[in-house]
């Protein structure tokens, strides 16, 4: 009994060291920009850098639009599959998992080949086209998280009966989706959304190959040219990701109507 407890304790301690020591080292390093003292100088430099502000804002907007796209695709699809095409579920699930198996570089190369300036649909030739392309790419990347989250959320409600109840009260499909289904899976949509946000904020491959000045390429450029600021940037990126995960927890805990029956 004692032996087992010792070994599991050791495993926990070991993984703690494995995960947190590098973070701690990076954090300590990021505080040493000023010689001989610990300061947040690196953070000040990063946060006041106009490059940081524009790229971060840009990535944030892309993330938000991606979330909207992802929601508009995932919620109706997952809903329809659950309601009318339950046999297709494994197929759809497989498709939504594909982005985890196909590297982004393959997708973006495919995009560039298909939509280059000499193609029928020269999306890469214009600012709007390139941005649309990167948004579509990000939506694809977010699908596994978005779709699964929504699908799990739908499992918790009686989709078929709620739909019929709404129909008998005169509601059409759009009303049902917007006023009955979406509000009831909002917590799941939000948890998918935060994951999407974290992915898009740090995304590099799509942005670099489509030549967009988002946060990912900025971080990469920082890493190659500065000493202390990249560490500060990495800590900030971690903080954002963790904040997102914390928000997922928060949202699911404080949702006012999905509490467990007391």
């Amino acid at each position: 009994m004692m032996g087992r407890r010792f070994w599991s304790g050791l495993a926990v301690f070991g993984s703690f060291l494995y995960f947190f020591l590098p973070l701690l080292g990076m954090f300590m390093f990021s505080l040493r920009m000023k010689r001989g003292e610990l300061s947040f100088e690196a953070y000040r430099v990063v946060l006041t850098d106009p490059q940081f502000q524009t790229t971060f804002l840009y990535s944030m907007i892309l993330a938000l639009i991606t979330i909207v796209f992802g929601t508009l695709i995932s919620v109706p699809t997952a809903y329809w599959v659950r309601l009318k095409l339950p046999k297709l579920r494994p197929v759809i699930e497989f498709i939504t998992l594909l982005p985890l198996v196909i590297p982004p570089i393959v997708i973006v190369f495919g995009y560039i080949r298909l939509y280059n300036t000499s193609s029928v649909l020269p999306l890469t030739g214009s600012w709007l086209g390139t941005n649309l392309l990167v948004l579509f790419g990000y939506t694809v990347l977010s699908l596994p998280y978005m779709y699964r989250a929504v699908d799990t959320g739908l499992r918790a409600i009686d989709v078929a009966t709620l739909t019929e109840a709404a129909q008998s009260l005169g509601a059409g499909w759009v009303t049902i989706l917007a006023q009955v289904i979406l509000p009831n899976v909002l917590v799941s949509v939000l948890s998918g959304a935060f994951l999407t946000f974290a992915i898009v904020i740090g995304e590099y491959v799509f942005a670099a190959l489509l030549n967009l000045n988002t946060f990912g390429p900025y971080m990469f450029w920082m890493g190659g040219n500065r000493a202390y600021e990249p560490s500060a940037l990495a800590v900030i990126a971690f903080a954002i990701t963790w904040a997102c995960m914390g928000l997922i927890q928060l949202v699911s805990r404080f949702s006012k109507f999905s509490q467990v029956k007391r």
């Binding site: 409600i157 019929e164 109840a165 129909q167 008998s168 009260l169 005169g170 059409g172 009831n184 109507f257």
Partner: protein, 351 residues
């Protein structure tokens, strides 16, 4: 012409015919129950009226309007489900007002109607609660209010009481009936519980394997079942094997006793089943019940006010009820007993 007309409704899922040539006319304000075991097609008929299933053939008319091709949200029908199906993200008041909001009514109209409906179901103070904060019975009452709020032409109730516990089931059943009477709304009620159907309905449709076996008032259904299935499904039924002695005079033999039924029967020598309800049988001799059969007490169940006794009459189990009498202990199992019955209470069942 009746208010709700179902004409030659048929429904097949693949090769299985779930509903076969179903016909029914429901008058305005009538309360009709579909009664039958699970899988008999009663819910399918209801769902065709609601528009959730499309009939394979046949037509549905409401108030003279052909609705067979209309989508569910165009039919103006109220529906209550077994699983309540309240919208979990909306409060009670918002749930009740949902249909009115879809119709685009003004806020003040909605508020007035919601208050009216919540008063009608006896929950005027619970408008701000969420469904998860209510008991099952309260949720189902809210679902009823929600279905009634947009003033539907027809109210459909799909086993609304099955998920509730016994006491609430009875009280809510009475409440549904009184609300239905008050509003005079045409109602179809689906249930597999015969007591529910008998107590609540103007008319009952007993369904069996996709066919409406018998349509009639609860009194007719119970006392004059026309098929063996109806007789057995509704109420408790005792069956006695009998042999026809004389078809013309209606003489049969039951366990060696000759009985004159005074009605035409199939040919001599054929065997048939006579059915009788527990309440038409008396233990011992009884005035007006001059057919005496002797047997042996097989089982005695003391149920409080009622004692249910099973008597073995020449191999047939006859179940009968007697009232409890404090001065008379129940009969002992195994003792000899006589039962008396009036021959006009014996039903001859068609196969």
């Amino acid at each position: 012409m009746a208010f709700l007309e179902l004409e030659h409704l048929e429904k097949s899922f693949g090769a299985t015919r779930v509903v076969k040539d179903f016909q029914l006319s429901v008058e305005k304000g009538e309360f009709v129950s579909f009664l039958g075991p699970s899988g008999c097609g009663k819910t399918t008929v209801l769902r065709m009226v609601a528009g959730f299933e499309t009939p394979t053939s046949g037509g549905i008319r409401i108030d003279g309007q052909e609705v067979t091709g209309l989508r569910p949200n165009q039919r103006n029908i109220g529906m209550v489900f077994q699983a309540y199906a309240l919208f979990p993200n909306l409060t009670v008041a918002q749930n009740v007002g949902f249909g009115l909001r879809i119709k685009g009514q003004s806020r003040s109209d909605i508020d007035r109607r919601v208050t009216e409906m919540l008063t009608l179901i006896g929950l005027p103070d619970l408008g701000d609660r969420y469904p998860f904060q209510l008991s099952g019975g309260q949720q189902q009452r809210v679902a009823l209010a929600r279905a009634l709020a947009p003033r539907p032409r027809v109210l459909l109730l799909d086993e609304p009481l099955s998920a509730l516990d016994a006491k609430i089931r009875v009280s809510l059943r009475d409440e549904i009936r009184s609300i239905q009477r008050e509003l005079g709304i045409t109602t179809i009620f689906v249930t597999h519980d015969q007591e529910e159907a008998l107590s609540i309905s103007d008319r009952i449709v007993v369904m069996h394997q996709g066919v409406a076996d018998q349509v009639g008032t609860p009194f007719e259904i119970y006392n004059r079942p026309t098929t063996r299935f109806v007789a057995q499904f509704v109420g408790t039924l005792n069956l006695l094997d009998a042999t026809v002695l004389n078809a013309a005079t209606g003489q049969v033999s039951v366990g060696g006793t000759q009985v004159a039924l005074n009605r035409a029967l199939p040919g001599d020598g054929t065997s048939l089943s006579l059915a009788l309800r527990p309440e038409v049988v008396s233990l011992g001799r009884h005035e007006g019940r001059n057919l005496i059969l002797s047997g042996r007490i097989a089982e005695v169940h003391f149920l409080g006010s009622v004692i249910r006794v099973k008597v073995d009459v020449a191999g047939n189990m006859v179940s009968l009820d007697t009232f409890n009498r404090p001065d008379l202990p129940p009969p002992a199992v195994g003792s000899a007993a006589e039962i008396s019955v009036s021959e006009r209470d014996l039903l001859v069942l068609a196969e």
